[in-house]
């Protein structure tokens, strides 16, 4: 399964949406959720996921908590107050962009 370039462009919105729906998630859980929700057609690589997660934390959109689970440290990501407001805007923006692409790709050529 190759990493999808479209995913990379919309990764932040995907993360925010997943975290919004689940309340809180850890890194591996996100990669599995994307794989399952896309019917194994999409995959998030760790090389793309973690920089994106850390950037969202830096921007104050996500908050982290750590817990010891089964003998190892698990870091959970949840939406911050700012993330709850900003997240919806970002998700709406990416949806709009994808809808536009969909429209263009499905439109029958009638110009000329």
């Amino acid at each position: 399964m190759k990493p999808n370039p479209v995913i990379k462009g919309s990764l932040n919105a995907i993360i925010l949406k997943l975290v919004e729906e689940h309340g809180r998630m850890y890194g591996y859980e996100m990669t599995r959720a994307v794989r399952e929700l896309s019917g194994n057609r999409m995959n998030i690589t760790e090389a793309a996921l973690y920089p994106a997660l850390h950037k969202l934390v830096e921007e104050g959109l996500l908050e982290t908590t750590t817990e010891s689970v089964n003998g190892r440290t698990r870091k959970y990501y949840a939406l911050s107050q700012k993330g709850k407001k900003e997240g919806n805007k970002r998700i709406a923006a990416i949806k709009e962009a994808l809808d536009s692409v969909h429209l263009i790709l499905n439109k029958k050529p009638s110009y000329g």
């Binding site: 859980e29 760790e46 090389a47 920089p51 850390h54 950037k55 830096e58 089964n70 003998g71 440290t73």
Partner: protein, 235 residues
């Protein structure tokens, strides 16, 4: 198999596997461990006969050609940018705090006046001598040794790197000492400029030291909180 959880002994093998790839900082190892362990568990669930070594190899391979590096780089980058932000916030707080300004402004004024006074009273050879320059370099060296010693308490390289922000001030300070103190033969018009550079840099070093202490305390508190999540040997 529906569920499989690695035991403590197996987790230690995973930690060893990560360390063998050059990641020795315990904080960094723990940062990678959970994701890596989840992958290994998933592989064993899919194939219960798979040996742990094979599962670790396959899980590591699935991280891509750079292995764990991108995960570690992202973690270190976030840590550094967070402490850089905290450092500059502390600098800003000092610059608007009446408590600090009441000390720093008179100190800067006295320093500036003192340099000019020594020149006006024929003591310029003291402030312009190579002796003072050498003393300043030694003082700076001792100052750096103290900082490095203080940072050693942090134990973890990633935190040491993150809190070492502000070291860029040291370079200009050294240049400042040269331009500000080696002017025994320079014309009078350069005196005020040299004295001003010297004073500003001394104040900058003091602010840097205060801010550095502040973020060092924050880092220590954060590590103290994380203590319970690290392997017992690090407590």
């Amino acid at each position: 198999m529906d569920k499989y959880t690695l035991n403590e002994k197996q987790l230690d093998q995973l930690r060893m596997f990560i360390r063998k790839r050059g990641f020795n900082d315990d904080i960094v190892v723990e940062e990678i461990l959970d994701h890596f362990a989840c992958k290994v568990e998933e592989l064993i669930i899919a194939n219960p006969h798979m040996m742990l070594d094979e599962a670790m190899g396959k899980a590591h391979h699935s991280f891509g050609v750079s292995g764990f590096r991108p995960v570690v780089k992202a973690f270190e980058k976030q840590l550094e940018s967070r402490y850089r932000r905290l450092f500059w916030r502390s600098v800003r707080q000092i610059l608007v705090s009446p408590k600090y300004l009441l000390v720093l402004i008179p100190l800067g004024y006295l320093l500036l006046k003192g340099i000019v006074w020594t020149d006006a009273n024929g003591y310029r050879h003291i402030f312009g001598s190579n002796d003072l320059l050498i003393i300043s370099w030694i003082a700076l060296f001792i100052y750096e040794v103290i900082l490095v010693k203080k940072m050693a308490d942090l134990k973890f390289d990633c935190y040491k790197k993150a809190v070492s922000v502000g070291e860029f001030i040291i370079g200009p300070v050294m240049i400042g000492f040269i331009t500000g103190t080696s002017g025994s033969g320079s014309p009078d018009r350069n005196l005020w400029l040299g004295a001003a550079i010297f004073t500003i840099l001394i104040i900058a070093v003091l602010i840097r030291q205060l801010s550095f202490n502040h973020i060092l305390q924050l880092a220590k508190a954060e590590l103290n909180e994380r203590k319970h999540t690290l392997p017992v040997a690090n407590h």
